[in-house]
Amino acid sequence: MQVRVLYFGVLKELFACPSEDIEVETGCNVGELRKVFHGRMPERAWKSMAIAVNQEYAGDEVLLFEGDEVALLPPVSGGAPGDACRRR
């Protein structure tokens, strides 16, 4: 089955596209999809990303269905600038 994967922020630049349709096994869950991307991005980015399914944050156990919208989300940085950076 196919799911649509959306990329944001640094991942959109890394993959040089905003989205892709990806073929996965029927019955695949978020954790299995996560593994598909292991090795396709820097380890730090892979470990720190969250995944949303149909616009809700989804843990690894959430099942995917044909046509789902799956978003790969780098750590967010909205709001006022720079507080996170200053602590480092």
Partner: protein, 145 residues
Amino acid sequence: MQIAIVREVIDAGNITAELKAGADGAVCVFDGIVRDNTRGRRTLYLDYEAYEEMALNQMRSLAEEAIAKFGVRDIAVVHRLGRLYVGESSVLIAVASAHRGAAFDACRWLIDTLKKTVPIWKKEQFEDGAVWADGEPFPEEIVRG
């Protein structure tokens, strides 16, 4: 509640004025603005982007949660996307409440939580290059469910 993602200048005065009602004793406003540097490196501008439908849903849930949690009366959360220059507002949070303590607490909680969970990203353009800002790590319950 006023929850919005905009691409034009955020009209803080108007948003705050519209929020006020007779039952309120306080409106607490957080106005997040673009600073001229990050760790001493001079910032020219920031480009904000969002997973827009999800960001709006998240902002709405946060506002609802804040009303329930802090007992405040009403909330406005407005985030701007696109290119923002030094001194411009990227986010405005206004909380109206009968008492100031709850308004301050809710406002602080809203900006802190928004920065960790609402899917918005910014790329910082410096004089000598550009980088995607390091976000804070996602809360554990988001990354692993």
